[in-house]
Symmetry: C2
Subunit: 383 residues, 2 copies
Amino acid sequence: MKILVLGCGLVGRLIATDLARDFEVTVLDPDFGALAALSGAVPVRTVAGSALDRNLVAELGRDATVICGAVPGRLGFTVMQSVIELGRPFVDISFMPENFLALDELARAHDVTVIPDMGVAPGMSNLLAGWGARLVEEVEEIRLYVGGLPLRPVPPFNYKIVFSADDVLEEYIRPARYVEDGQVVTVEALSAVEELDFPGVGVLEAFFTDGLRSLLGTVKARRMLEKTMRYPGHASQMRLLREIGLLDDQPRSILGHDLGPRKVLAQFLFPKWKMHPELGDRDLTAMRVVVQGNRSGQNIRYSWDLLDRFDEPTFPHSMARTTGYPCAIMARAVAAGMIHRTGVLAPETLADNEPLFHFMMGELQQRGITFHETVTLERQPCR
Amino acid sequence: MKILVLGCGLVGRLIATDLARDFEVTVLDPDFGALAALSGAVPVRTVAGSALDRNLVAELGRDATVICGAVPGRLGFTVMQSVIELGRPFVDISFMPENFLALDELARAHDVTVIPDMGVAPGMSNLLAGWGARLVEEVEEIRLYVGGLPLRPVPPFNYKIVFSADDVLEEYIRPARYVEDGQVVTVEALSAVEELDFPGVGVLEAFFTDGLRSLLGTVKARRMLEKTMRYPGHASQMRLLREIGLLDDQPRSILGHDLGPRKVLAQFLFPKWKMHPELGDRDLTAMRVVVQGNRSGQNIRYSWDLLDRFDEPTFPHSMARTTGYPCAIMARAVAAGMIHRTGVLAPETLADNEPLFHFMMGELQQRGITFHETVTLERQPCR
C-alpha cells in the first residue's frame, strides 16, 4: 500500500520514516536538502515540489491509501481542501488558523475520511479529552496543559523552538478561547499565568493559548481550558515583546522600509531559540490532560500525564516524536480500515471507537510514548 | 551679563528660563518649534542652528559670561572642545561617552573654567560624593543611586523617558565600572540587581550603570558604586532586549535593509515610553548618595536623599528640574566669580569650595529641590 506524506520538516520526516517500515512512502517538499537527507537514510521516494501544486499532489496521491499532511499552519487549509477534492483519506498535523470543520461537508460529499489536528496537542489531547468525556455522565471540567521545552533551560530565554518557527509567535497573538459555565470566553493569549509542578520537570508556568479549537464545539463541559507550559518567565517576556509591538504581523514603515515587525523580531530571536542537537541540545514534551465529572453520584477525575524526552538513538526531537507518531499511527489505522465514518473528524470524535483508542495507545507505547493515567474518586459533596 | 545656552530640549529650556531672570540669554537649537515655544514664554533670544557649527557658536558666545551645554551625549565632547577653544567658561550637562578630562589640558591652555556633568547624576551626586569624602579621614564606601521614574507606574513597562531618548538605551549597553578594594572592576550594565525601599516611593530595584565616570579617578574609596533605580522588573526587560540583540547600535542587515537594531527598537518603544504631561503623566526623581568612612576612630555614615516630583505650576518634568537647576546655578556661580580654578573640573573636585557648596544647596532649596541629610555614627568595631 502507498502513502503520500506532504512536508519533510521535523515532523514530516518522522512520519515518513515510521510509515516506510510497512508502506511504499512518497514524500513531497520543496526543500531538496531535507529530501536528500531523508532518502539517504530511509527507503522512501522523494519529490521536490510544493504541496500547493494541486496537479502534482493529484498525480502523487491518486493511488495513495492515505495521505499525511505535515505542512506549516498557514498552508494547512488549502492543502486539506485539495486532498479532499482528490478523494483520498487524509491525516493531518498542520496547525491551521482556519476552522477545518468548514470542510466537513466537502469531505462527506467526496466520501472521504479526514482527521485533522492529529498531533500531540492538538491531537492526543483531543482524543484523551473525548475519551475522558465518555467515561463520565456529565463533564465538570477539562484541562489541557502542553509544552515543548528544552531539557536544560538556559537563561534568559529558557526556551528553544521545537516546532514550526512560523507558528510559535503566532500562538501568542491569536486570542485564546476557553469555556466557563458552558459559555465560550475569549481572552488574550499569554494570560492567566499559573505555576504548576510537573513531575520529572519541576516548576513550570502555564498560560492560555488557543488550543481547544474543535473541542469548543464537539465536547460539552461546564469548564474547559487549554494552557501552554513553559519554564517560568516566558509569558512575561512574550507579553513584553507583544506590548512593544514586535509580534505584529502586519507590515509597517520601520525606519522607512515596509517590514513586518514579527519577521524583524524573528530574525533576531530564532537564531537564539534554535535547537542544536549536535551541540547537546535536547528537548522534552510535557502534557497533562485532566477530565473531571460525575458518575453514579461520585466525583471522578481522570488525569493523563506524558513526559517524553529527546530520543537519543534515532535522533528526532521529542516534539517531533510526540507530534509525528500519533499522525503516523492514525494513518496506519485508516489504512487498516479501522475508521468507517467520513467527513472531517476531529480526534475527540474518534474516542467512541474503542479498538482505535487502544490501538493508538498501544502503538504509541511501543514507540516509547506512554501516558500515565491517574483516577481519583470522591463521593460528590452535597450541594 | 550674557549667557549662551546650547540646546533647547527638556533641560536646555529650563536652564534658559532660570537664567533669563537675571541674564541676557541666547538659546541655540536646530528645532524651530522648540525655540518658538520657549521665546513665546520667556524673554530670551533664540537662534536656529547647530551647536556643531563652530562659527555660529563663536559668534553667539564671544561675549558670553558663561556658556551652558545641554546637547545630546553624542555631541557633547565636540561641543565642549569648541567652547574651550572659544575661551569662554562652560557648564555642561551632556552625558557624553568620552572622557571629558582628556580636554583638561586644552582648557588650562585656554585659561578656561569647564564644569562637565553638572546635572543631578552625574552632577549633584558627584558634588555630594566629594563633599562626603572631605568629611571623613578615609572613605570606606560611596554608593550612588538615582532614578527618573513615572509617578504612577503603568505595566508592563512601568517606565517613561525623562531624559534624552538617545541616551536611555545607551546606558544599558555601556559596560559599568565600580570600585572594589580600591580597584576598578568592569561589569555588564543592568547587573547586580538589588531591591531597596525608597521612602515616599516604595520598593525599587537598582542595578549597575556606568555612572561613576570622573569619580573613578578623582575620589579614593575602598568601595564605590553607582546604580540606576527603576520600578522592579525593568532590568530583566532591558536585559531581554539586549540579549535578543535589539540594543545593538551597529547597523546590520535586517530583512535585507541595513538598519541599526537599537533605532528599530526605539521606533517601537519610545512612543510607548513618552511622557504625556497633558494626559496627566507626572515624573519623579529619586536619588540617594551614601558616603561611609572613618573619623576619629568612629565609623560615620552620611546619606543624602532627594525625592523630587513634577512641578505642577511651572510644568517642567522633575528630571528636567533636577538636572537643569544644578547647571543653571553653577553657571550663576561662575558668573559671580565664585570659581577661580581653570581646567575641566569634575563637580566632585569643587567640593572643597564651601561657599560654592552652600550656594548650590541653598539655591536648589529655593527652587524646591531639597536633599535630606542623615548622619549615622558608630564606634568602629575592632578588626
